[in-house]
Symmetry: C2
Subunit: 266 residues, 2 copies
C-alpha cells in the first residue's frame, strides 16, 4: 500500500532544491529501489486567520521592526516517484543556468535536437484541440495553451499564436516577409483577449521565447502578472521594430540565451 | 516587550501574498495602532534528513507516482512592523504589474520622478563604499552591490558599473558616443569577475534595467542562476549591437516595460 511506500523511503542524497519556491528533492531507496521524493511547502491560505504566537522566537528588533520565527500553518506537499529510473533522476536533478552568446554563424552550425511536431500539426490540421482555438485567419491561428484551458483564473492567461506556414522554425528565420503576419498576430491577439476576457492590453505580455521549447515559430500571450523569464522572453513589439529597422536583423545579431546544464554539487 | 507585541497582533485584512515564494502579508492592529505582519515560509535545510511520515496523507496515486501532504519542518519567518503608517501599508500592499509601451515621444514628455543621487555621487567621489570598488578607469568604476558585499555565496554575485559622466540618465540617452565605454564595461566587468571570483563569463548575466531604479546610467553583473526580471533585464550585448546598427536606436524605438500600480482586491 502506498502509505507504507512513503514510510519505507530512506533518503540518500539531496539532488535538487529551490529556496525561492521552498522545494527540496531527495533521492533515496525503498527496498533497494531508487526513489525520488519531492517536497514543497504550500502557499498560505489567503485569509485572515488568528495565529497562535506562543512559540514565536524573536531574533531581531529595531525601532518599529521586529522579526520572529515560529512553526505553524505549514503544510508540505510531497510527491514520491518509486521506483525511479535514471531519466527521472536526471529530470529532477539540479541543473545550472548558463548564458550562451549565439552568433548567427553558431546558429547555422548547430544541430537542433528537433522534438516531433505532430502535436502542432494536429492543431493546424484541426485534428486536435479545435475547441481551444479562439482566433483564425489564413496565415495563423490563436489557441488556449493547455495550462490555461482548465483555468478560471485570468492571471493564468496563456494563448499561443501558431502560423500555418511550417518553415518558420524560430525567431532566427524572421524577416520583412513575415512583418505583416507578426503585426496581425500582435493586434488580433490583443483584440481577442480584450473581447473574450475583458482584459486591457496593458495586462497582456506578448513575447517570443529564444531558445524556443519547440521549433515551429509561435508567439505567447500571457497575463502581465506572470513572472516570465529574464533574457528568454523577447517582446514581439521589439522584434517587429528590429525587423522594420533591418530586415535581416535576426540573421546578423548575436543573441544571448539562458540554457540549463546538469551539474553535480555533492 | 516585543514578544508581547506579536501576541497582541489582531489581523484585519490580507494586503498581499505570493504563492510562488510562500508569503502572506497581513494588516492588523496592536492596541488600536495599525501594524503589518509579514509571514514567509523558510526554505528547507539542504541536507538529508530522516523524515517522520506518520501523519502523511495520501491524495493521489498512479503507477510510480504518489502524492501526499503532511505537516513537518515547518519553520516560518515572520516580520512585524508596528506601528505602521500609510507609506508602509502602500509599500507592502498588493500591486499589479502592467505593461507600458513607451515611444520616445512619451519618454520625452514624461516627468521623471528623480530620486536623489547623492549616494551615487558619494561613490563616484570616493566618499563612500571605496572598499567595495573592484575596478576603475577614467570613464567608469565597478563596485560590489550592497546585497553582495556581505555574501560568501557566488550565486549572490551582484556588481554595478557606474560611469563618472553624470548626464547619462538611462538607456534612452545612449548612442555611438558611448559605444567604447559600453564595450569596456562589458569586457572589464567579465574579466574582473573571472579574476576575482574564478567565475567563467557563461555564469554571468550582464544587463541594464529599463525602467531603471535610479536615473544615473548603470550596468548590472549578476550570477546566471539568479531569476532576473522578464522584459526589464536588457542584455548589454544587445544594447551594444543595436547602437552599432543605428546610433540613435534608443531614441527611435518604443520600449515595453513593466510597472507596478496599487490595486485593491478586497
Amino acid at each position: 500500500m502506498s502509505d507504507d511506500l512513503l514510510q519505507q523511503f530512506r533518503p540518500s542524497e539531496v539532488i535538487n532544491w529551490d529556496d525561492n519556491t521552498k522545494k527540496l528533492i531527495l533521492l533515496g531507496y525503498i527496498n533497494n529501489q531508487q526513489s525520488i521524493l519531492i517536497l514543497q511547502k504550500k502557499p498560505f491560505e489567503k485569509q485572515v486567520q488568528q495565529l497562535l504566537f506562543d512559540n514565536a522566537l524573536q531574533y531581531f528588533h529595531n525601532d518599529i521592526y521586529t522579526k520572529y520565527t515560529f512553526q505553524q500553518l505549514n503544510e508540505i506537499d510531497c510527491e514520491l516517484i518509486s521506483p525511479a529510473n535514471q531519466v527521472h533522476i536526471d529530470k529532477y536533478s539540479k541543473s545550472d543556468q548558463i548564458i550562451i552568446e549565439e552568433t548567427y554563424e553558431m546558429f547555422l552550425k548547430q544541430q537542433i535536437i528537433q522534438m516531433p511536431l505532430d502535436w502542432v500539426y494536429n492543431i493546424l490540421e484541426k485534428k486536435k484541440e479545435v475547441e481551444n482555438i479562439v482566433f483564425e485567419n489564413k496565415n495563423f491561428l490563436i489557441l488556449k495553451d493547455y495550462v490555461f484551458v482548465n483555468s478560471k483564473n485570468l492571471e493564468d492567461l496563456h494563448l499561443l499564436a501558431l502560423p500555418f506556414q511550417r518553415d518558420i522554425k524560430s525567431l532566427r528565420d524572421l524577416n520583412q516577409d513575415h512583418l505583416q503576419m507578426l503585426e496581425d498576430i500582435y493586434n488580433e491577439g490583443l483584440r481577442i483577449i480584450n473581447e473574450e476576457y475583458k482584459l486591457d492590453q496593458k495586462y497582456v505580455k506578448v513575447f517570443v521565447h529564444y531558445l524556443p521549447s519547440f521549433y515551429h515559430f509561435h508567439v505567447h500571450f500571457t497575463h502581465s502578472s506572470q513572472i516570465g523569464q529574464s533574457f528568454r522572453d523577447i517582446p514581439l513589439s521589439s522584434i517587429i521594430q528590429n525587423i522594420k529597422l533591418k530586415s535581416n536583423y535576426y540573421q546578423i545579431v548575436a543573441l544571448q540565451y539562458v540554457t540549463r546544464v546538469r551539474i553535480n554539487k555533492f
